[in-house]
Subunit: 322 residues, 2 copies
């Protein structure tokens, strides 16, 4: 039965890559890494009841399990290539597996990711995906590297997924199109990894991270790894109209600073290259907003429009925090 | 707290490899695959209550989570290099994590495997490890490739882990040293992946698989992938003295044919190379036993000493089988 489930997943994948010498069906996959490239590898787990509701749509679970990993590759400036799935299921529900695979395949197809391995086991529902990709030697973006004076940017908009987490279960929202929750929920359930932006930032960004735990927490990681601090302009945080239509300014700021699951990229660039960054990302269809600057010291401070520091909310989503 | 747990694991690892350009602590690892090598990748999950008892020693869980993956690399003839851990835990039990990491590190140290990535999440206890290694181009061992007339071999002894599963909880066994259960339990809790044997079999074996689901099931996969059948000699199955001292002949045969968790290698070689194989593996400290031959047709038949087919037990461990 294990083999039928893996076969059910494999059968729904629609990406074939010439660099897969041996895919699903043996003890391990055999893969050809292109000459001159470094391998980029990451793994992330989604657990039912923790990272998604127990009754989430299987298609959304499949999509998101891959998306959170591709977001890590994006933050490295990597080109994705292959993925492995470890799927733990309470029972052998073929329809669940097919729908899960459809969601996974939809995102994999967009980014030319081939599924090359998998394991299905019985147990409480959880999914671990390992994503593999490439970067040219010495071209990867890392957390370390932010320099004092760098401008801090973020792609897209922040806080939508955290807001969606709050409105989940409240229904579709009001009749006013702007106040419907559909867009917010899509940000939570079907995050779009910023792979094109990551590629565009090679050779431009000094440091980069994906915003999964919340902007303050993740920019904090960049600062710690780089030995610097950061100052953010609270009024500059990019917010979607779906967010501002449904929540007041203070709630929006909280979501944008401390909410998780954004899967945007936060990165720093030398200030002389600000315009170049905005234009280059715009050509990939991605908005980039200047939200602050790197400063000497440590930690992330948030400033209001008069330059006064404001109290910051809890520093992002971390597991096992009481 | 998530970062503290990962750091607790990282701090207990004792392998540093020059081919790790960027390890734990960024969005993804950056790895250098040697020129002329193919990447070999696999992933396997262990779930509490399914693959190990709820109160198993954390050191054993850490060891086994890596061992089952290294066994897959061994079956490909691969040299292991890197691993990623996705650890899901009910609560942030630092002592559990340290002990888990100690067991993982003990095996990783034996085989020069560097931990390069990880994720810790809250949820029911389970561990997914992804193992990465290399083989020279076109040197990997696969399941397909067994030819009619090939001799079927298996490394080590079979059935010990399945027997241990049965005696677990019965205590240490009788006072007779041969009838103690210690050796059997060690086979279940601390399997030794056959990496040296896998390397030695490059260029020798026509097909290879690791015996994780049980000999009949796994040799069945080789036969299906190769489009052949196999005949096994029931009396040739290699059994440990720890097994034969504790169980009658029929039980030993059942464990050896259908028990899982052996993590030995089952492989086929052209019959003219039988002696060469036995001698070459002996030099790696690994016993190899001739247990049958590849035949035309399909499926695995088990023959007694007079050449008559005998009824075979259930075909190995599969998840979701009622």
């Amino acid at each position: 039965m294990e083999f039928d489930l893996i076969e059910a997943i494999r059968a729904r994948m629609n990406v074939a890559r010439g660099d897969v010498a041996l895919g699903i069906g043996d003890d391990a996959a055999l893969l050809d890494v292109p000459a001159g490239r470094q391998l980029v590898a990451c793994t992330d787990t989604l657990v039912a009841g923790v990272h998604f509701p127990d009754h989430a749509a299987p298609e959304d679970i499949g999509w998101k399990a891959l998306a959170v990993n591709l977001s890590d590759l994006a933050a490295m400036g990597a080109e994705p290539a292959w993925a492995l799935i470890a799927l733990t299921l309470p029972d052998a529900d073929a329809r669940f597996v097919e729908r899960f695979a459809d969601g996974f395949a939809a995102l994999a197809g967009q980014h030319n990711v081939a599924l090359v391995g998998g394991d299905t086991t019985q147990g409480p529902l959880s999914i671990t995906v390992t994503a593999l990709g490439f970067v040219p030697h010495n071209a990867a973006l890392a957390r370390a590297g932010a320099g004092v004076g760098d401008t801090v940017f973020v792609t897209g908009t922040l806080g939508d997924a955290a807001a969606a987490f709050q409105v989940r279960g409240l229904g579709p929202g009001t009749g006013d199109p702007k106040k419907r929750h559909t867009e917010l929920l899509a940000r939570l359930d079907r995050p779009e990894p910023r792979l094109g932006a990551g590629l565009a930032l090679r050779g431009l960004a000094n440091a980069c991270i994906d915003v999964s735990d919340g902007l303050l927490a993740d920019l904090g990681h960049v600062c710690a790894a780089s030995g610097v601090g950061a100052e953010l302009n609270a009024d500059a945080l990019p917010l979607s109209s779906a967010l501002t239509a449904n929540f007041d300014a203070e709630a929006c700021r909280q979501f944008a600073l401390a909410g998780g699951d954004d899967y945007e990229l936060c990165f720093t660039v030398p200030s002389v290259r600000e315009t170049e960054v905005v234009e280059k990302l715009a050509r990939t269809g991605c908005r980039a907003t200047r939200i602050g600057r790197i400063a000497a010291g440590s930690g992330v401070r948030v400033l209001d429009s008069r330059g006064s520091e404001i109290a910051t909310p809890r520093r992002g989503w971390e597991h096992f925090v009481p």
